[in-house]
């Protein structure tokens, strides 16, 4: 049974009782979850689904406030009608997870989801301006506000973003939105190996052409993008967005430089929209399997070294969402968590999150990157301050969290 409060006051009441009785709650939104994070025993589900609707949307101010349980689709429709968007490109994970629920806006921020525009436009946490949430003692807390610049007190907004339902129950979120770009074009360079592609992307991003997305799609996955329409060989894709007049000028410039690396082809607005959505949603690994899927972040220039090192010892397939700062890795059989994390450390640090795996694998694999002892202890103290009774999915995010 899932608890579905319909007001914030009810939510606070339920949580206060749960805290008093020591009942563990698994917080969720549309409950499209199909297992993310470490499994937690003996929890009751509590969903924000009953708290739904856009509270305030001022397109002129580019700020939207919605109750946490509002379907993402409803938000996107409202924004689309005003030619605005969430700049951080929240992914739709239903493809890779094989689930079918209705993702909520609270879930997006609770998971700090972001896509290929991460390096330029930030993650969900960078767009989030204010929140209301219920803490583990059943108190309603407000943090942040509805203005872009705000250093009034500690930034609990960022703390709650990405806390995966382990610090508080979000009831309302206020976030910044941006205008939809007038024009989009994608430059694809074909036939580069991973190392050369890395160099090509670094040099593209050093040019004053404002690349807003950069991805390398090796031969093994390339065919799964754009309905198989990408040219022969691995594809290295660079996205340009903005005013039409400017995009075409920048595209010329970028293409001219990139031909030094390999054959260049250009893709128009509609093709670009589809391609980048597939990159965002990790389309090649929406494969109906339970093969272990990792979301890895390391210094972008080292990503291909990590993959090359793993290849020598494990069955791994990967592609690179560079501007998202991500490598998506699908393991053939074993999740190879230890090996992967050892190499990440050796390369100077980063993190790997197990996004998908079978029940058996999840039961024995730590989903979130383990932290150093000092950071883990500090994080546990932080959790204790928000959730003193430890009722919000303890252990879900590794260790005591």
């Amino acid at each position: 049974m899932t608890l579905i409060p319909h007001t914030e006051t009810d939510a606070a009441y339920v949580i206060r009782n749960a805290a008093a009785q020591g009942t563990r709650l698994a917080l969720c939104g549309g409950n499209s979850r199909s297992g993310f994070g470490n499994p937690v025993e003996g929890t009751e589900a509590m969903s924000s689904r009953g708290l739904s609707g856009i509270v305030d949307y001022e397109p002129a101010e580019m700020v939207l406030t919605a109750k946490a349980g509002t379907p993402v689709a409803e938000i996107e429709a409202a924004l689309g009608a005003n030619r605005q968007m969430m700049a951080f490109e929240p992914m739709d994970h239903r493809g890779i997870m094989g689930t079918s629920g209705e993702p909520t806006i609270g879930g997006v921020f609770a998971a700090n989801v972001s896509g290929p525009r991460r390096f330029v436009a930030g993650a969900a946490r960078d767009s989030l301006l204010g929140i209301r949430f219920v803490n583990g003692q059943g108190q309603v807390i407000r943090a942040g506000g509805r203005v872009m610049k705000n250093v009034t007190g500690l930034d609990l907004v960022k703390l709650l973003a990405g806390s995966h339902g382990t610090l508080g129950f979000l009831t309302e979120v206020t976030f910044r939105v941006l205008p939809v770009p007038q024009s989009i074009e994608t430059i694809v360079i074909s036939g580069l190996d991973d190392a050369t592609a890395t160099r090509a992307m670094a040099s593209a991003l050093a040019l004053p052409v404002e690349v807003s997305g950069a991805a390398h799609l090796p031969q093994t996955v390339k065919g799964r993008f754009a309905g198989g329409a990408l040219p022969e060989g691995a594809a290295t894709a660079l996205r340009l967005e903005g005013l039409a007049a400017s995009v075409s000028v920048r595209a010329e410039k970028l293409a001219a430089v990139m031909t030094a690396f390999g054959p260049v082809s250009r893709f128009d607005m509609d093709e670009s929209l589809a391609l980048w959505r597939e990159i965002r949603d990790v389309h090649p690994y929406a494969d109906g399997t339970q093969k272990p899927l990792w979301r890895v972040s390391v210094a972008p220039s080292l990503g291909h070294q990590l993959v090359a090192a793993l290849r020598l010892e494990a069955g791994v397939d990967a592609f690179y969402d560079w501007q998202g700062g991500l490598i998506w890795m699908r393991m053939e059989a074993d999740p190879e968590a230890e090996l992967l994390r050892r190499y990440i450390k050796a390369l100077g640090g980063g993190h790997a999150t197990l996004v998908r795996a079978s029940e058996q694998v999840r039961a024995v694999t730590t989903a979130f990157e383990p932290q150093s002892d000092a950071v883990a202890a500090l994080s546990a103290r932080v959790k204790q301050k928000l959730d003193p009774a430890g009722i919000f999915s303890p252990g879900k995010m590794a260790g005591a969290l």
């Binding site: 002129a60 101010e61 580019m62 700090n112 390096f119 930030g122 960078d126 803490n135 807390i141 407000r142 943090a143 506000g145 509805r146 203005v147 610049k149 705000n150 250093v151 009034t152 007190g153 500690l154 930034d155 609990l156 907004v157 960022k158 703390l159 973003a161 990405g162 610090l167 941006l178 205008p179 670094a202 050093a206 004053p208 052409v209 404002e210 903005g242 400017s246 000028v249 920048r250 972040s297 210094a299 972008p300 220039s301 700062g325 991500l326 100077g348 640090g349 980063g350 993190h351 383990p370 932290q371 000092a374 950071v375 500090l378 994080s379 103290r381 932080v382 959790k383 995010m397 590794a398």
Partner: protein, 479 residues
């Protein structure tokens, strides 16, 4: 000088051990890193919020993270307050010490450690100045985006402390959006890393929490920041209007149209006159308000963006539109804007407010602000980051007249409450410090504040880090 804002009473147990503490610090650090002579402590007694001063017990200037850690471990053990300090340009009193505190200054840690163009990052020590990062990478076509007007002096550690912004943050975001990682000394001397060259965190976003925490969670000793490729070109354009209301409404409409320039800065008549007299930037003097709008990109892009903006400005009855014709002219336009505070300081004492309001409320808040200062018989000059609603009314007064000073402080408080009531906040980029500490309850409920303070306690149970700041002195958790 008025002394309306209280500090925590000094801890007697610390004061009575003064000489022992100084001797111990001298054991921990090289001789040139410990300052304790009263005369030498004077430069550290205040920051840019000069109405308040306190001599610290001593100042330490570590050269390494390990030295900073040794100091923290010692101070933690004996419950000695520590006030982190960068360049001391805080406008909210964030870096002002107290009699029982050690000032931990980062000025001897000012090296750029690594520039990594492949990953577009720079890793620097916390005492490095904001501008020196952009200077170091400029020749290679990169820059560090947040550009506070104080960028020549202020440090990246202070920028992190205050989550500082600047004129160009409308497009590129403030410090928190450009910070990828920090090395930080925790209160007990433990050294931790949050973030790095990768993006986002595996666990809680402690990096996000540290940014803007005003030296209350730990000592930042190193930072990794995001570098951005410099645009092909940039062009500031001056738009003069008859009234502040027209200019304010024009800002709202520019943003609403979906055009996001790199910067939209606002000056009212008093600010224009002050800045022009100082910088000779060529600002029109026959207007009631001025917008500096900067666009960037290729020539084609700048032309297209500008055309859109000019059309909107015309709808709001713009009187003059003047594009900068050369790099020198552009630099002069920015020099005028960035010297606004300094230029104001030459004609009067001033306090600078920093409230942020929703864009739709700009004109209303501007009008109310002058009503408030009028009612106190004070003059005000407005110069601020209009594109993100971050207001900076400069309230002019005479610091030698205690009553005038008290009136200025009272007027400032009214203006900040106005910002909060209009749906905004007390501070957009200067921080709470001591200045806005006692107004925090106007913005937050007791439960909101208690939650923030509880999280603060998770980092510093004994509240020794910058203890007189940010949170009202009453109602704090028992240590």
């Amino acid at each position: 000088m008025s002394e309306a804002i209280e500090f925590l009473p000094p801890r007697p147990a610390v004061l009575s051990r003064r000489s022992a503490i100084i001797a111990d610090l001298a054991d921990l650090l090289p001789a040139e890193c410990v300052i304790h002579e009263a005369r030498e402590l004077v430069p550290f007694e205040t920051d840019a919020f000069i109405s308040y001063r306190r001599l610290p017990l001593a100042v330490v200037l570590p050269k390494t993270t390990a030295q900073a850690a040794a100091v923290m471990k010692y101070c933690h053990r004996y419950g000695i307050p520590v006030v982190p300090r960068g360049a001391g340009t805080s406008l909210s009193g964030g870096a002002i010490p107290q009699e029982d505190a050690i000032v931990l200054g980062l000025s001897k840690m000012s090296r750029i450690l690594e520039v990594d163009y492949a990953n577009r990052t720079a890793t620097v020590q916390a005492g490095v100045t904001n501008l020196s990062i952009s200077e170091a990478v400029g020749v290679d076509g990169f820059f560090y985006a947040p550009d506070p007007s104080s960028q020549l002096a202020c440090t990246i550690g202070g920028n992190i402390g205050m989550n500082s912004g600047g004129a160009h943050c409308l497009k590129y975001g403030v410090t928190t959006n450009n910070l990828l990682g920090v090395k930080m000394v925790l209160v007990d001397g433990t050294v931790v890393d949050f973030g790095g060259k990768h993006l986002d965190s595996a666990g809680y976003d402690l990096l996000g929490l540290v940014c803007g925490s005003e030296g209350q969670l730990g000592i930042v000793t190193e930072a990794t920041v995001r570098l951005i490729a410099k645009p092909e070109g940039a062009r500031p354009v001056l738009f003069g209007f008859e009234t502040s209301e027209e200019a304010g409404a024009c800002v709202t409409d520019i943003i609403a149209s979906g055009i996001i320039p790199v910067a939209i800065e606002f000056m009212d008549k008093p600010a224009i006159e002050i800045c022009e007299a100082f910088a000779h930037a060529g600002y029109p003097l026959d207007v009631g308000a001025l917008l500096i709008v900067e666009v960037e990109g290729s020539e084609a892009e700048m032309d297209a963006t500008l055309a859109g903006i000019v059309e909107i400005a015309r709808r709001h009855g713009v009187k003059t539109v003047r594009e900068s014709q050369s790099a020198t002219e552009a630099a002069l336009i920015w020099k005028g804007r960035k010297s606004a505070f300094g230029a104001t300081g030459r004609i009067a004492d001033y306090i600078c407010m920093d409230g942020t309001v929703p864009l739709g409320k700009l004109s209303y808040v501007l009008k109310k602000t002058s009503e408030i200062t009028d009612s106190f018989g004070l003059r005000v000059a407005n110069v601020f980051h209009a594109g993100d609603g971050n207001m900076h009314p400069l309230i002019l007064f005479n610091a030698n007249d205690p009553e005038d000073a008290a009136r200025a402080e009272a007027a400032g408080n009214e203006i900040l409450k106005l910002c909060v009531d209009a749906g905004g906040c007390l501070t957009g980029e200067h921080g709470v410090g001591i200045e806005k500490r006692d107004l925090m309850r106007h913005q937050y409920s007791d439960a909101d504040l208690a939650q923030q303070m509880a999280v603060r306690s998770a980092f510093d149970e004994g509240w020794i880090l910058n203890p007189s700041k940010v949170f009202p002195l009453d109602g704090r958790p028992a240590a």
